[in-house]
Amino acid sequence: MHISVSEMRRVTLVEVSGRVDSPNATKLGESLNEQIDAGHTQLVIDLSNVEYISSAGLREIVSAAKKVRAGGGDLRIASPSQRVQDVFQLAGLLELFQIFPTQVEAVGSF
């Protein structure tokens, strides 16, 4: 898994690629927490290059989303693959996140 973070005007964009699984999901959580602790509460996670995600990955995304929402912000998802979307669906999370087909739309939604 690779994570790259870019600061944009209103949004912090977190681009993730590779597998998000139980050995590395906490790294994603730490990266998201760093942003939240720095006061960034408008987050976009771009999942277009994530080929696999397990419940461990969802757990980190859900915790981060709860935190930013509690602070009046939001965490939105950009371009998940069908397989990743299926896992969100399985967890009953599809309706609880704003999911956008492209990064531009997700970033522009704030």
């Binding site: 699984d21 139980s22 050995p23 859900v62 989303a65 399985l90």
Partner: protein, 263 residues
């Protein structure tokens, strides 16, 4: 493929992806489709993670998880054994997926996923071991005639290095892609001079002609070419009517076609 394959996962999280990959590949080889293999992969991670974190981890131990994949008639079965303390997942609460995000517990989805992803799931604690048995159903699995289905495009190599491929039946939009893939695979394997032996092909559509044209261009890019032999009258007529008889060498005999590719 062998009916049974085994993998030993030494109980640390870092090695879980290897176990997932093993299960995914074995599932595909056994005849499951991509989606089903995805399901097996994810269910395997969820269970192994639970055992490593809550089973062995709670005791501060690392241990092993034995994973056995079996092809049964119509089902792919994954059995996971471990020696951690009894971990009965059937007592876990089912997560409520209707509650809003702010009230969600972030975790606790693993066991739920396993049940949803797999067609059958059975847990038992026997002889001091946790055992999870889960299956995914597919009629292609363990079906002896599907496993031993003849190669639809048998190939052989002649003394002069020319590769001969013998399709049969129809070449049309239903199987054109398959034939194309089979021929391109020959090119990739280094056989750039190909003869397609047509004596048992009784029909070719325009899709079939296009496939041959594509393959010829790709062969020529690599300094080779393609020739056809032993066409039935009906198939030869299709080439003649479409003008493709001027594009390809159409030989009566395979040897003759192969010779046309020499030099």
């Amino acid at each position: 493929m062998p009916q049974e394959r085994r993998f030993i996962l030494l109980g640390e999280l870092a090695r879980v992806p290897e176990a997932c990959q093993f299960v995914r590949e074995t599932a595909r080889q056994a005849g499951l489709n991509d989606k089903q293999a995805d399901n097996c992969e994810l269910a395997t991670e969820e269970w192994c993670t639970n055992i490593i974190e809550h089973g062995y981890g709670r005791q501060g131990q690392t241990g092993r998880i034995e994973i056995i994949c079996q092809s049964l008639p119509g089902a792919f079965r994954i059995t996971l054994h471990d020696d951690s303390p009894p971990f009965d997942p059937t007592t876990l609460p089912t997560p409520d997926r209707s509650i809003p995000l702010k009230d969600r517990q972030p975790g606790g989805l693993g066991w739920f996923f396993i049940q949803e992803l797999m067609d059958t799931v059975q847990y038992e604690y026997r002889d001091g071991r946790n055992t999870l048995i889960m299956t995914q159903h597919n009629p292609n699995v363990g079906d002896s005639h599907s496993a031993e289905q003849p190669d639809p495009f048998p190939a052989r190599t002649l003394a002069n290095g020319v590769r001969v491929i013998t399709p049969s039946g129809r070449i049309d939009s239903a199987n054109g892609r398959q034939l194309e893939a089979a021929l391109l695979a020959q090119l990739d394997a280094g056989f750039t001079r190909l003869v397609v032996e047509m004596q048992t092909v009784n029909y070719i559509s325009s899709t079939g002609l296009k496939v041959l044209l594509t393959v010829m261009r790709r062969a020529q890019e690599r300094g080779g070419s393609i020739a056809l032999s032993a066409l039935t009258r009906r198939v030869r007529e299709v080439f003649e009517m479409s003008g493709f008889d001027t594009v390809f060498t159409l030989a009566n005999a395979t040897d003759e076609a192969a010779r046309s590719l020499e030099g």
